[in-house]
């Protein structure tokens, strides 16, 4: 199992923990992630809000590098995943866009490089039976709310990730780790991520309702697969506390951090010390596998 790995900009900044835990989990499971040499930004929200050709060209430049490696591209950031899938779709479905992108990046690209999220690799290529055999510790009934957000599942005809309204990929991983995946209605709601700095009030309101619902469903923590969701839900709990006067202490962990713990990897190696809200409740629940 060898892939071209696109870490994305947040891997070196706000989501170092995502990068650390994904790399550690991949190593433990024999997934070889070869970082794309010279990779650049996918353009994120700023590019598609500004210019459609720019938004398709920035991901295309990276996908061309992956094409030269002859490997499928694996992404851990849901936003990069989304932008790359959309770029592939734009280039493949419109000859006009294809020629504009070719002009911008300096070589033709047909949109054919497969883009996959690490979760898809874990479920489809590694598979749950093999994954379960590798686990040495258990979540021991920890109640986990699986939160997918927007960018993995929408637009669904383009991303093709799991199910648009009720995805279960994270839930299946949680159950495989011996956790209890809670039934709750906010799996694909928006945390407000795109407005994190510009309209923090909106982010606090949207993220607050997601955390309240997870708590009402009995969750001990929320598992995420997107650095924007992680930042909104984790970073903004202080603001929620200030606004409501109630304590907010819901750990927001990457699914790869939970997996890493169950694979016997140390919390520090998984970047768990970087979370704003303490993950102690999660760490205490984990025990040796029976």
């Amino acid at each position: 199992m060898k892939y071209a790995y696109y870490p994305g900009c947040s891997s070196h900044s706000t989501a170092r923990d995502m990068h650390e835990s994904a790399s550690a989990v991949a190593r433990a499971l024999g997934i070889e992630l070869v970082e794309i040499d010279g990779w650049s930004c996918c353009g994120a929200t700023a590019a598609h809000q500004t210019d459609r050709v720019l938004a398709a060209s920035l991901p295309a430049a990276n996908l061309l590098l992956a094409q030269k490696m002859g490997l499928d591209t694996v992404v851990t950031c849901a936003a990069c995943y989304n932008r790359m899938k959309v770029a592939n779709h734009e280039v493949a479905s419109s000859p006009a866009m294809r020629s504009k992108v070719a002009d911008a990046v300096g070589s033709p690209y047909d949109g054919s490089v497969a883009v996959r999220h690490l979760i898809e690799v874990l479920l489809e290529d590694v598979g749950l039976p093999k994954l379960k055999k590798s686990l040495v510790r258990s979540l021991n009934g920890l109640k986990v709310a699986s939160y997918y957000g927007c960018l993995l599942v929408r637009p669904h005809d383009v991303t093709g990730f799991d199910d648009a309204e009720n995805p279960t990929s994270l839930d299946r991983l949680v159950e495989a780790m011996g956790g209890q995946s809670v039934d709750w209605p906010c799996k694909v709601d928006c945390c407000g991520g795109g407005l994190n700095l510009t309209r923090t009030d909106v982010v606090v309101r949207l993220s607050n309702s997601i955390i309240d619902m997870a708590r009402a469903a009995g969750a001990d923590c929320i598992a995420v697969a997107c650095p924007m969701c992680q930042a909104s839900l984790d970073l903004r709990q202080k603001d929620m506390q200030k606004k409501s006067g109630r304590p907010y202490e819901m750990p927001i962990v990457y699914i790869t951090q939970l997996l890493g713990l169950c694979l016997g990897i140390s919390p520090a190696e998984l970047g768990l010390n970087r979370l704003m809200v303490s993950p102690d409740a999660v760490l205490q629940a984990i025990s040796a596998k029976e």
């Binding site: 010279g38 990779w39 930004c41 700095l197």
Partner: protein, 189 residues
């Protein structure tokens, strides 16, 4: 808002341009409003996806670019996901944003265009996003200097904000792309 319905049949306004830029046929919308029901910011923005589409149907011009939704839309794509006619409304909003920048429309609350500009400026220089410089530029430009100031030391200590600029990207290629694609034209024929 006042909508004047004239006697001429021909619809003018932004609709043809928006349809061309977004590649979306707005004529198929029959105002079921599933998009607006699922929109997480329609209330706060005081404008909803179905309303934007209807105003385009009715010949709205540049005044539409002042709608709150244009810069509050989160691109969460819920509207698109639930539209029975598969109208790609996020693409419509992106076209309206491009037009809003091109026409120099007054900056919205929170100044998202400034944020985007700062983000892309840094990508253009470093080939990758440099959060520290991008945030500093945005804060200076928007005057929101003290927002989240209390969280900064913790984020730095936990390594959640990189101090040094990113390295390793093919900067020449990125600059070439910006030189040729960042013209804010949308998709034209």
């Amino acid at each position: 808002m006042t909508i004047v319905i004239g006697k001429t049949k021909r619809v003018t306004g932004l609709k043809p341009l928006v349809e061309e830029m977004s590649g979306v046929n707005l004529g198929v919308c029959y105002q079921c409003r599933k998009c607006s029901a699922g929109c997480p910011v329609a209330g706060a923005a005081k404008s909803a996806p179905s309303e934007i589409i209807r105003r385009l149907h009715l010949g709205a011009g540049d005044e539409l670019l002042q709608s709150g939704l244009i810069w509050m839309c989160l691109s969460c794509e819920t509207c698109y996901g639930r539209c029975p006619m598969q109208i790609n409304f996020p693409s419509v909003i992106d076209a309206l944003r491009s037009l809003s920048i091109a026409k120099g429309t007054k900056a919205p609350k929170g100044n998202m265009p400034l944020f985007n500009r700062m983000f892309l400026e840094n990508v253009k220089i470093f080939g990758r996003s440099y959060d520290l410089s991008m945030i500093a530029g945005y804060k200076l430009g928007s005057g929101k200097i003290m927002d989240d100031a209390g969280k900064f030391p913790t984020m730095l200590r936990k390594g959640k904000i990189a101090i040094l600029p990113p390295s390793g990207a093919d900067k020449k290629l990125v600059q070439r792309i910006f030189g040729r694609a960042g013209k804010n034209e949308g998709e034209t024929k």
